[in-house]
């Protein structure tokens, strides 16, 4: 048994024993659970993939004369201005003004909020255009100017939903190619796409949210941020394997961090043909090895993590809830799965390569003493389930 304080003391003295969730599996096999739990202080987990419910709050400071922005665009991407005078919220999936969308189907969706966030972190010069109705205290009616992240008072990523605990595998049972947020899916179940770091993914290494909670310090694209709430659609009370691994979406995290500390290679705008734009983000989360049980759960292997295969031509869009079958991540990573006796080739949207890189970068930061762990101030709900949106008649 260790406490957060003891682990942080080890980190501070540069003596912390840190392994990635990838390395810990063989390590525990070799050393045994009890000995490894005494020795290991932290296991690092990570993920890199598209996370649509992401965005950032930007504060521009005041111009001379002042403006209370009532409509605003950054790089021609609409931002939300229903906040204080010069605060805006830029969302990852917002398209650039006049994007042709799916008018010439499938659309290309070349640029949107996620791309603006990537350019902002990369230090590029961006355009702000804003309108106002003008007030006695904020007389300016229109502004067009250029800025970099350095010019902003704050650029804080505030993401309502990141790090889905587990995720569907998407296939297409129709006879035409479909274009989804799970990528391009060819007809007649020719390919399948998944999107999770599997055995390296944060919440799959802490399936009952014993260490990852509100207040947990996280590595977000190189910045030190934290979990500020349960993520939207968090549903800890989902179906689980006998070992406790969720057999679908389940838990999510709401994360925040300072974009001025982020690295551009981990904040990437994405364009999904025929679907839209989003943001791919790299996140690392340390798991303190407080006891043997927590260590045991970090030893989860790809083959023990089941995920549902879902048809995205009918069952997903019509919300039928039908699952074709369950497969595990070892099968997915082999590049081929069997669905109803037929072979399907497998692609991914989540980068295991980048997730490994992040898990190692975070491990290095902890070993060097520059990343300390934070104990949660509140835990994520384990029992909640996801509610549907009912289409009701207007009440009389």
């Amino acid at each position: 048994m260790k406490t957060y304080e003891q682990i942080n003391n080890s980190i501070e003295s540069g003596k912390a024993v840190v392994l990635t969730a990838d390395e810990i599996i063989d390590y525990v096999d070799k050393k045994g659970l009890a000995a490894a739990a005494k020795e290991v202080d932290v296991v690092t987990t990570a993920t890199f993939g598209p996370m649509c419910s992401s965005g950032c709050v930007l504060n521009f400071g005041h111009s001379k004369p002042k403006i209370r922005m009532s409509e605003a665009w950054v790089q021609d991407v609409l931002v939300y201005t229903g906040l204080g005078a010069v605060d805006v919220y830029l969302g990852a999936t917002q398209l650039r003004h006049r994007d042709p969308e799916n008018m010439d189907y499938p659309g290309e969706f070349r640029y949107g909020g996620g791309h603006v966030m990537e350019e902002l972190v990369a230090g590029k010069t961006l355009q702000l255009f804003a309108l106002s109705y003008g007030t006695d205290c904020y007389p300016l009616r229109e502004i067009r100017t250029y800025f970099t992240i350095e010019d902003l008072n704050q650029a804080i990523m505030v993401n309502p939903r990141n790090c889905y605990q587990n995720y569907n595998v998407a296939v297409n049972d129709s006879e035409r190619t479909i274009y989804t947020y799970m990528g391009t899916l060819e007809p007649n179940r020719k390919n399948a796409n998944y999107c999770s770091a599997g055995q390296l993914s944060p919440l799959l290494n802490d399936p009952y949210y014993e260490t990852i909670g509100v207040g947990t310090r996280v590595w977000m694209a190189g910045a030190h941020g934290h979990v500020y709430a349960e993520g939207t659609q968090h549903a800890g009370g989902c179906e689980r394997t006998p070992e406790g691994i969720p057999k679908g979406g389940a838990g999510t995290l709401a994360l925040t961090a300072d974009m001025k500390q982020m690295r551009e290679e981990f904040v990437r705008g994405v364009s999904f043909r025929g679907y839209g734009v989003s943001l791919a983000l790299g996140i690392g989360i340390p798991i303190p090895i407080l006891n043997e049980n927590i260590l045991k759960r970090t030893c989860v292997r790809d083959r023990e993590i089941l995920t549902p295969v879902v048809d995205y031509s009918v069952d997903y869009p019509q919300n039928t809830g039908k699952v074709l079958c369950y497969v595990n991540y070892e099968q997915l990573r082999s590049g081929e799965i069997a669905v109803e006796g037929r072979k399907v080739s497998v692609g991914s949207l989540s980068s295991y390569y980048k997730a490994l890189e992040i898990a190692n970068l975070l491990a290095d930061e902890i070993r060097s003493g520059s990343f300390r762990l934070a104990e949660p101030i509140a835990y994520l709900p384990k029992e909640s389930t996801m509610r549907p949106l009912l289409i009701r008649e207007k009440p009389s």
């Binding site: 060819e186 990437r268 994405v270 364009s271 999904f272 080739s345 692609g347 989540s350 390569y353």
Partner: protein, 139 residues
């Protein structure tokens, strides 16, 4: 008899020579087997041609000397499809869409993606499916 080899080339014609049957002469006069992957003439009359040539080293050399008489630049390395290795995130979305396995997982443990130019037939599907825009066309 010398061994035959296959080389993938991109030819760039700054001023298009569309009226001249260059490929015909490569086949007829220089004994080369030609497999054209992609060809384009721009409105500025620049011409691009990506092809495999198969023949003996000597025949290929003679053939290329002939091609050079048309003010053509021959690119033996950078082809028509460019994969940006530095910015690729290695998500692997392209892999199932690439019909020839030119884009493939080169390391099963790390899921690293690699690109084998020789296998690329320039169908351009990777350009359409890459969410990060890391595959592009030279023309």
């Amino acid at each position: 008899m010398s061994q035959t080899v296959t080389k993938k080339l991109m030819l760039f014609f700054p001023q298009c020579e569309c009226d001249k049957p260059i490929i015909y002469h490569l086949v007829k006069d220089h004994n080369l087997i030609i497999n054209v992957f992609r060809a384009k003439v721009t409105p500025e009359e620049e011409g691009y041609l990506v092809l495999d040539v198969t023949g003996t080293e000597e025949d290929i050399e003679r053939g290329m000397d002939f091609v050079k008489t048309f003010n053509v630049s021959i690119n033996y390395t950078g082809k028509g499809v460019i994969w940006d290795q530095e910015h690729c995130t290695h998500c692997g979305h392209c892999v199932t869409h690439c019909p020839t396995g030119a884009l493939y997982i080169s390391n099963r443990a790390t899921r690293e993606v690699a690109f084998c130019e020789a296998k690329c037939i320039e169908c351009l599907e990777c350009i359409r499916v890459c969410p990060f825009g890391e595959c592009t066309s030279a023309f």
